[in-house]
Symmetry: C2
Subunit: 100 residues, 2 copies
Amino acid sequence: MRTLEHPRTEDLQLDAVLSALADPIRRTIVRQLADGHADQACIAFALPVGKSTSTHHFRVLREAGVIEQRYQGTAILNTLRDTDLEARFPGLLTAILAAT
Amino acid sequence: MRTLEHPRTEDLQLDAVLSALADPIRRTIVRQLADGHADQACIAFALPVGKSTSTHHFRVLREAGVIEQRYQGTAILNTLRDTDLEARFPGLLTAILAAT
DNA sequence: ATCGTAGTACGAAGTTCTTCGTACAAGCTA
DNA sequence: TAGCTTGTACGAAGAACTTCGTACTACGAT
């Protein structure tokens, strides 16, 4: 079983989170996850970029601690780490989602 | 009298604001302005970078609409546009300042 | 076992960002 | 006027970011 590295909640860095969310493509992903579409595979996002670029953006979000990724077969299910983000940076994700 | 361009409140872009605030040096500036030290000249910030780099960072903040800059003699007085930011992106600046 | 699907690794290209130094402009002060 | 202070313009170097294509791995289905 393949596993993916995720930062712990207490290790989340504001720099990384803001940089990750400053990109419109990555905010598209977060927006879609926040709109109740949890546990979606990467391919379900129909991003306007190639496959390897898509991988890159999901990785940035995961390494910043914005999303959680776990394998299910060959696919990866993505989930927004909204609870963790709220605990570490109260109000931040809410404000950014509201502004999008 | 020299003047400086500022985006209008309704034209503030989330992309630009988040990118501007994703940089630690620029957050230092914002933090200091938020801590009641309004109307400070650029030189008062003692940033760990050269003079022209400092100019660059203040310009990024101004063009994103995060700060207001106006000339007073040869100096520039900097003010946080907290009211404008709150109007356009409610809770965003507050959350970022709280997390810093 | 073979094939298809979902995503990764790697290298490359092009762009943008950060930083710097030097030379310069604008305004105050003596 | 001459000199000082504050910040800008410009060019350059290096780092980081975004994007891509191709080859690859892992897993499931046929």
